[in-house]
Amino acid sequence: MDPSQVATDLGWWSVPLAMFAGAIRVSTPFLFVSLGECLTEKSGRINLGLEGTLVFGAMTGYAVSYMTGSAWTGVLAAGIAGSLFGMLHAALCSLPKVNDIAVGIALMLFGVGLAFFFGKPFIQPTAPRLPSISLGEWSDISQVRVALEINPLFFIGAALAVAMWWAFRNTRAGLIVRTTGDSAAAARALGVSVLGVRFVATTIGGFMAGVGGSFLSLYYPGSWNEGLSSGQGLMAVALVIFARWNPLLCFVAALLFGAAGALGPALQSIGVSQGYHFFNAAPYVLTLLIMIVSSSKVRALRGAPGELSIVK
């Protein structure tokens, strides 16, 4: 798995190759969290707690995979755990005067705390991991073969992005979610339960974030420990703003973030260790730059759901 154990010396070419591989490997959790958040935000609510959901999903996925011996059962359990967090967020925000951003911050801390609490016994044992699909059999270069070992969840996420993009435009459910997000009053006039739609959208969003977390512990990096996620869930939330609430752009943005995240390890593998910490900071700096470029002082963001508290 480690790109540094190479047979062929590719020199600097290994950097773009590792970034390509990284873009696919590292992007998957970003993709799931950002698609989940995209759905939640489209319904008019922001869930900042997905970082906590991601970490709790990673722990649950690993623990269940270890206990049942099936990695896919772990993925499902992580999704269910994530949807419970989503339900909690939605239920609290349904109460009048309760602020969705503050609840998100609280659930971020609560989710991480619970994950560390219950995850303690699972740091040592080895759980079954998710398998990958080998698409690089045609190549003689081991790095290329490694780069084309792709996890099925990546394809599921990509298909989900397309399906969500299509559904938002073409289905009744998509229309209801968009209407609820743009104007609660209009949705009420249509006889739609605003709180109900947001409850479902936040719950499904939590499910996806949980699945994204299970990818971290069950595939890449592929183990459970307390330093597993460092802000991926939060970056994914920022990424949705950059993607202008468009699932297809979420997919592109997730790839971009994956590549940025792979830059540090890729340079390290060819012996560039100077400024290594700054390459590790690259995804955060990139997120911040993207937010600076894509935000605007004077007008509401294009494509933003009208009910969303961060753009009001």
């Binding site: 900042l48 909690l88 609290l92 109460l95 009048p96 005067k97 309760v98 602020n99 951003i101 503050a102 609840v103 911050i105 609280a106 659930l107 801390l109 609560f110 989710g111 991480v112 705390g113 619970l114 560390f116 609490f117 303690k120 460092s230 802000g231 939060l234 970056m235 939330v237 920022a238 703003i241 400024g275 910490h277 700054f278 590790n280 900071a281 955060y284 700096v285 997120t287 911040l288 937010m291 600076i292 935000s295 605007s296 002082k297 004077v298 961060i310």
Partner: protein, 368 residues
Amino acid sequence: MSDAVRDGTGLPAGAGMAEWRDRIGRSAEYLAIPLFALIVSAALFSLFLLALGQSPGQFFQLLWVGGYGTSFSWQNTLVRSAPLIFTALCVAIPAQLGLVIIGGEGALVLGGLAAAVIALPLAGTAPPAIVLFLMLVAAVGVGAVWIGLVGLLRYGRGVNETIASLLMFYIAISILNFVVEGPLRDPASPNKPSTASIGEANMIGNVPGIDVHWGLPIGILLCVLLYLLMSRTTFGFAARVTGGNVRAAQGQGLPVGKLVVAATAIAGGCAGLAGFFEVAAIHGKANASLIAGYGFSGILVSFLARHNPLAIPPVAILFGGIAAAGGLVQRRMGLPDATMVVLQGLIFVVLLASETLYGRFRIFGGKR
């Protein structure tokens, strides 16, 4: 967040009886509902412990002993309360303007790092008083710039301050790691990357009589000063108007941009001060020990104090006690070290849910 604005509003002299009654009722409400939230959290946490087969009675008894039971535990609690006061102020001041800043931990880390960086070349050559003064200026300055930048981005580009400040926390960690593993690494500390020690002579001492460093009294003093700034000055009034309604503030010609940047810079300076005391009074050097979670616990302290600077010290002492008792609970009950994080998270969630209770009880002045 505009509810915070109502807090501490001075009514004009000669306000009628009804207004006074209303004011007292409101104050009682601000005290009663957070207390109720704490009790509900304790009850829910007891259920959690019972479900795990642990004894809630033992837990709360250890919490009391470890936090407030002996003079040693009081000292431990107060030492942990000091940084919480500063990081809570980092949340409370911007909250008056309706901003939710959660990256105080980053300003704490960089403030501490700046203090150590400026002290190292001076240690042994300059008088300790001057070294300490320069450390203080560096820590406050770096903290103020770090969070002030968040305010600048918020006002200048409309960048969401909550997400930006948390992203900048991760960037701050990278900067700390780079400095302590690279240019300023102390070769004498091979296992834990760290800067060299600033020297015993340059450490700030304890308050005479109690074994607690100067951060605690200075933090309490700062809370009083910032309360007066926010409730008794034109600046504070303008800030609260902005927090209530940005467009109205702009319509009145208030300098919203300057207010936002000033408030975030003050906030960052407070968090930087926490870093200064962690380095100058406790660690004596900058390393990963600075990332102790004070910035994140400070968010909860500020919310529980309803962003009122005067309420911050008692709440900080409550959570300092919870943190101080962590080790004892861990050893005696065999619970993981994350137990206290779970308790804090639970309190935070219940507290926010309790927001919905405001204005619902007649006893506090009826429906609003």
